[in-house]
Symmetry: C2
Subunit: 153 residues, 2 copies
């Protein structure tokens, strides 16, 4: 049975990893047509002449794929993975058709909540890499984590 983690189970420096998701061209275009319909995300030929010099996934598609990988990275938070805040999110280079993504996470800080004693905040840096070990997304998030006493153990 999965062992769920509470606030007390997290400490700075802990690392979690996971991969992989492959974003193929059809999925990239379908996501972009729904949420980010710009030629460099939806039209391969027009994309060649764009800022990106070729088809690029919407950054929000890379972010959503990263969320999927994050769920499988073994944090196993008792309440599930609930984002309180994304402190920073950047895309140093685009995700390209056929790229296979993986993530590496590191716990930066663990702190109690000032206003709600039953929970705390865990700050995590998540880097998303492509199959050439290049960073396509860098993110720091604060997630909400219950303390052990309140959750009943």
């Amino acid at each position: 049975m999965t062992q769920f983690r509470h606030l007390e189970d997290f400490a700075p420096g802990q690392r979690f990893e996971n991969g992989s998701i492959t974003l193929d061209e059809a999925a990239m275009i379908a996501f972009a047509q729904q949420f980010d319909p710009q030629p460099f995300h939806t039209e391969p030929e027009a994309a060649e002449r764009s800022f990106f010099k070729g088809l690029a996934a919407s950054g929000w598609h890379t972010a959503a794929a990263t969320m999927r990988l994050f769920l499988g990275a073994g944090l196993n938070v008792a309440w599930g993975l609930i984002g309180r805040q994304v402190e920073t999110l950047e895309w140093p280079r685009p995700t390209r058709p056929g790229d296979t993504l993986r993530i590496a996470c590191e716990v930066l800080e663990v702190r109690a909540s000032r206003s709600r004693p039953e929970m705390g905040i865990v700050r995590i840096r998540t880097e998303t890499f492509n199959q050439r070990d290049e960073i396509v997304q860098r993110m720091v998030t604060a997630i909400v984590v219950p303390v052990k006493a309140t959750a009943g153990g």
Copy 2:
């Protein structure tokens, strides 16, 4: 014909608005099944007993819907809307099934790029509201914008 904007056309204090997108329950569940498959995003009954006390959209779905609204908000940047960095992104309350979202954007800062003279950075705060005028997402982004001379127009 659409008038495209360059760096020189932006100034702090400018406001842009757009609405609306309605996120129905089926779309919320479909997005979450693909990218954020947790019971409070995919199973209405289990969601009632969760942190969210009812089905909630994945924050990444709210973010993607906001991107779609952002594209229609009339910024009309010459290169398209290219995010360099999201400086902060938070979800003060969840998006619920059937919520209709709108956005309000304000330009915070306009600056030249230190390394690339052909472009600059525009920092924008984007707030996403539901139909009760409650904020469901607060975001500050830095987008890449070409300067007029280089773009030839």
